[in-house]
Subunit: 315 residues, 6 copies
């Protein structure tokens, strides 16, 4: 492991619009195989039920991350100095077979994580959270899931398919991956199929901070609710970018009005500092519906804040 | 009348991106002529003074409503079960003659409403509020108007035209349609022609909750101000989508910076539960200026919340 | 069967931007169950290997067809008078299982066609051509396929999948659906995987008119080449909209530079008059990449010309 | 009159993206009241039957004209040296009353033309051709009309309105403005209401060069057909930008596939050199549907070529 | 000086979408050389380090300002009556030489301001703030700078260039232009290069109100912090439009998630009433990335509010 | 040098939308330092006089090249088998100093080319052609330049700058880099400053095939004219993407109507087979103005055809 982590490409030699398109212009894993933390693309959207296109998400978020710089004044940390972060590239996933895709993602993520590494995945659609949770569970046991989303994603099946972007957290609960007393949805809103959607989600182990709560509670109270729920367990953070209002994230597959602002989302993420975040995903960025990279930029900043709240003991 | 209302098309058989483009994938009035509540398109924009194009609004909002589901967790209601909602299609309106258009809309709306039915119109520009208010007045007497808009829409004439999208509430007041003690504008902002605009609006019966009030007052206080003003009168809700900030609703004809978020608007609408809402319109969605349906989705959710606060005694 | 076919909605009563969004504002099959010719939506894009989104194609093409009128001066025919054309709506297809989707489309198309009806399908991706060819083959025996496309679509498998948008004509040839002496690709261009792609396509029964031939041969010579190849056999016309240059059809999934103009495509289609066209599809319109409906309008005109060259004995 | 006409702003002092937005950065009429030729905006689209928005056309075309330079190598002429060209600004037209609008345009155009000046109008929708033809007729008697368009624009009325964008040439013929033996449509294509549309157009004095003729005839033959038809009469050139294919002009109100390329249109215009062009309009540019100014740029070049073929004796 | 200032063009004669494109449709300086306050375009973006294109900003903001009206209800003032405001057009700046550009802007701004006039510049990139501050300093001595921005803009050099859009406030401080005890950044957020960025900015005389402060402090508290810092000094207001969140201002060059809403920005500006604002700029509007003018409209309203808080003694 | 060149990433393992974004998914030079032919990004647009943004061109063209496959049926060649092609990444160029930029590009290109390697550069604006020609001249003596462009690019200076995107071929001729008897512009069109532009261009060594010649001459005649002019000299091909009509290439900085189709351009390039092409550039792709990658795809295909006509003796 290098004494000093290698950071982003030097913007005084290669302007930010130029050069290689890794996340935040960080080194590639192939160049730094001992990296501590990986940002990894999972280009896959066959589990999408409405607008597809998140298969183009990873490279869009990377392209939108070119302005990220090494010091975070909000948390007073330097995420690329505290540990070696690298871009692990994309996994090749079968676009025609959901089961095969889930298996490939699980295997590849497991290999990347090994016993130690923390992994932040860029989707792809939300289907990918299931194999990623399996990998975390194998290492840490039941996981406290912090799930940002407009939707519960705890449906059962859709057109007979068990693995889709609407079902990962039901599957994960059924498989015992979720810590039933410490998981929480944030940003839930919009019409549901029925009252049962909420009660079943609770049975699966989730409480909920609704989007409309942000209209009435101070942001720090919401942070405290989230922290209290997560406790000191290993936390997996799963962020569907549609937790943001369509005005802040048009480039997504199942948009719902009335969502969070990007500032609200970033503030809640900053509030995770000190928790034991073991992995994360940022999903459902569908570039064909984005404009001027506003969704991609929001996703890039979300990943940046996640990198900033990873525990320091990594190195 | 059917024992159980027919709801949206079954998404487990016809995916949401497929099939007929009625509002929320609800049945058509032609198939269920006894429906209780109608969503109705009024494609007309000849009254627009700046960007035209709201004539394409009704079908754009319908297309943007495909993700709406039957249960509203915010209010714990099922709007499509409490009553039969149907899509009444579009009215054919003369695009070249404002007077003829207003007459056609009044006549068609009257026929659709009959003595009992509640009607939510999708514009079209704001000109259409006048004939719709006439129909309501005929059934209920003076109407408490709850008007969401960046603009007062109480001008007198423009280029000699009495019926335009800037004049409906002046005409309505002059005609005695408006309950002078119980009407209110919400979301007003942006430059006016003169101080008189405000005082004349007050003379016509309107108080105002300004957009900037949302920066200072808790949302529930604003709801209470609105409810106090409306009282127990029959309420007509007229929503110009430009009440939202251009960031949340770019697809409109006369955008003004500094507006409401979609979450704020939806919260105020939810606050109307229990009032006697007799009709509504959602106007000024101009699809040529929309992006990724963010304006259309906001409008679709607005209509959904309106359906949710309609009085239960309908059936 | 009605004495006089019912044509598009009357534009002097319902302006073209208003009213129901069937293809060319024609009646629905549910209202005219005896219609002779059907335009049918097959919203399905799980077979796409690059940009998905053709699942939104059918309704986009319908929306783009609102300006179509009943008389075609180029051919001096009235397609909606010569026979009853109706919009058969969309089929509900499983988005997560390619095999199930192909089976559903075949069954539904067979039921719609019965023994007599001609069917023009709006895709959806090119996967759908296989089940549609099966239906035609069952009725007519081996089919002369006229295939407009930038690509050969005669690959074998992709990620193990036999049914994708790159394989329908290989599968169809293997199944004996294609008349080996009378089928032709038109518009082929762009890089291939290898020289074998061309020779294998020939073995499967296809000759090719390359896109670059349009730069050197008069349009009527190309029409004659196509007619000579098709002969007097039953003809199925399969049109991937990417046969057009990206400048004329940006809204598609696998665009290639150097394609046909919309005028060239329409002229070749007009040249089919008098042939025995038994069915057709227009596929790969991906609305998220379209602009101002230029791709949708091209597709709508393509369908219109197909309707105009259907044999007159239909009725 | 100045000895040397004043040309566009000096691009070596004010870069082309900067400075005042007159057509081709030419002087304003208010600064050079003796100008010989005027480019004039007629922002009006109330006569549009499908997509409105051409009211924003004049300023969009001006913005798209910033790259025009003073020497035309195709014709070896300097249009801004041969005569003083100025931008006459926009006329203020009633957007709510078609009859008043037509009267205002006629009066204002007459005043601008006086007895001598040639006028090129930027629409606005095609309604404006009627009052402009009246002004030309008053000065020159029956006018040979050279009409570029996808549509005939010789309908009778629409929703009872006699003055719309679909009717100007019927009205003009009825009023005796059109030289019955010397007028011609160019670029006609797309479906019509009936066979009568063509025969009635011929009775009104028009022959037609169809868009599909461009696929079969050399461009110079088409030029010769047009010149032969126009003869030596005073010619009015009316150019609906939808004569171009939607790929070349997406920003318009009633697009039809299969149109001309911008090169074809410019070549026909260049072929008018030596004719007695007395006036012109370029209409139906609807900026909300344009992309990267491609429609605006085409329109700007069209006006430039028109300026280049104006007779030299102007000065 | 005229007894009554000339206001915007009369919208009852020239509709807002028509006519000359000056800011708010105000008169030009060339027509009213005695104007008190000038809005001036500085089309220049060679100092941009990421997305260029702000050279098209001035005319885009003007085009987006057509809906501004003469009375501001939020402040109960009529900015165009209190003083003569005029549009001073654009300065011609060398796009290839940063030093020459800065010199040209300084000279031209000095000439425009004379000893008395207040100037609001529309950028252009943020490089232009330096020469504008020099002009203000020459007249008023050290200036209290109120700087709205996502970024500090106090870098030293970039690729060896001292004058870029990231350096104006460092240069200004070094030159002694900035009042070290009375300047403040508002809206700062996003990653920095290092902790030093903040401490160096403080050494240069700036405190900071961070964007995240808006999530926790009432808007009036923030106004009070700003006013307390500025005191009674001559204030220069420099507004980088990227202070807004990308959802409210996509059309800019270096967007960062988590920004202000347009309502928050307008409220802070309204809070400046009564201060001695001597000049201002609104920069970094990059139209190629804007959609439906939402960024342009925000910028236009920002300028409008600035005009409203200028001291009344101007006249 | 490897026995068999390494081609693009295997699309049967990594779908085309996934994985690393090199040109055509080829290997990087850093991984294959002995590559024969390089595709190289030169992200630089400070020489642009109108719309900037070509600095984002290289990565946009790479992203648009993901569908390129290894066999070219038009020429029956496999460009990635005949020689090792690699992506050389981007050069870091000073965006604020034109002279420094030209020097950096020259030095870097020289180092990359060595004595043997052929280089195809992706711009960036057309300024970059000058240093690239210097490198070629140093190796081959006077170069026959084949220049595709709407513009002559033989201006002298602009705002005092000798090195801009309008001047490279004047500078190159002055420096003796251009073979005066064997160079040719193709696609010239649009207004010029004066007749002198043409005569001066001829003095500098260029004849011209005008865009309008494509409307009258068969494509093979044009190819023959070009080949005859180039003779057997070392040829440098410089392609400004604005040689295409804006309908085929909206994403560029100085668009002119009436250009080539992408098919015409590709055909002329294919006609170069057998000539001694020593280097090339494809410039002026400005992604902010592109739509659905149509400009990027055209540029990617242009580079692909260039790779296909490189002499075989490379290896």
């Amino acid at each position: 492991m290098p004494a000093t982590p290698v950071g982003p490409a030097d913007a005084t030699r290669i302007p930010r619009y130029a050069g290689d398109g890794t996340f935040a212009r960080l080194p590639r894993l192939t160049d730094l195989p001992d990296a501590d933390v990986l940002v990894w693309g999972v280009p896959f959207d066959t589990g999408a039920s409405y607008r597809p296109g998140a298969r183009f998400g990873p490279n869009h978020v990377r392209q939108s991350s070119r302005l990220l710089r090494p010091y975070n004044p909000a948390l007073d940390v330097e995420p690329f100095t505290a540990r070696q972060v690298a871009d692990a590239g994309d996994v090749g996933v079968n676009p025609f077979d959901l089961g095969a895709a889930v298996a490939t993602i699980e295997e590849a993520a497991g290999a990347l994580c090994g016993t130690r590494r923390r992994l932040i995945a860029i989707g792809g659609d939300h289907t990918i959270a299931l194999p990623l949770l399996r990998v975390q569970h194998e290492r840490h046991g039941p996981i406290a899931v912090l799930h940002f989303d407009a939707h519960l994603d705890t449906w059962d099946t859709y057109f007979g398919a068990a693995y889709t972007h609407g079902t990962p957290f039901r599957r994960a609960s059924e498989e015992g991956l979720v810590d039933l007393d410490h998981s929480v949805h944030v940003g839930i809103r919009g019409p549901l199929y029925s009252r049962l959607d909420l009660t079943e989600s609770e049975k699966l182990g989730f409480t909920a901070v609704h989007a409309r709560d942000f209209a009435r509670q101070p942001i720090d109270d919401i942070v405290n609710r989230v922290r209290a729920r997560l406790g000191d367990r290993p936390v997996y953070v799963s962020i569907d970018i549609d937790v943001l209002d369509p005005g802040f994230a048009p480039g997504t597959g199942t948009p719902e009005a009335g969502g969070l602002s990007s500032r609200e989302l970033l503030e809640v993420l900053r509030g995770l500092a000190g928790l034991n975040v073991v992995g994360a995903d940022v999903v459902e960025v569908a570039p064909a519906y984005d404009h001027a990279e506003i969704t991609g930029i929001a996703a890039a900043h979300v990943i940046y804040e996640l990198l900033c709240v990873l525990p320091e003991e990594d190195r």
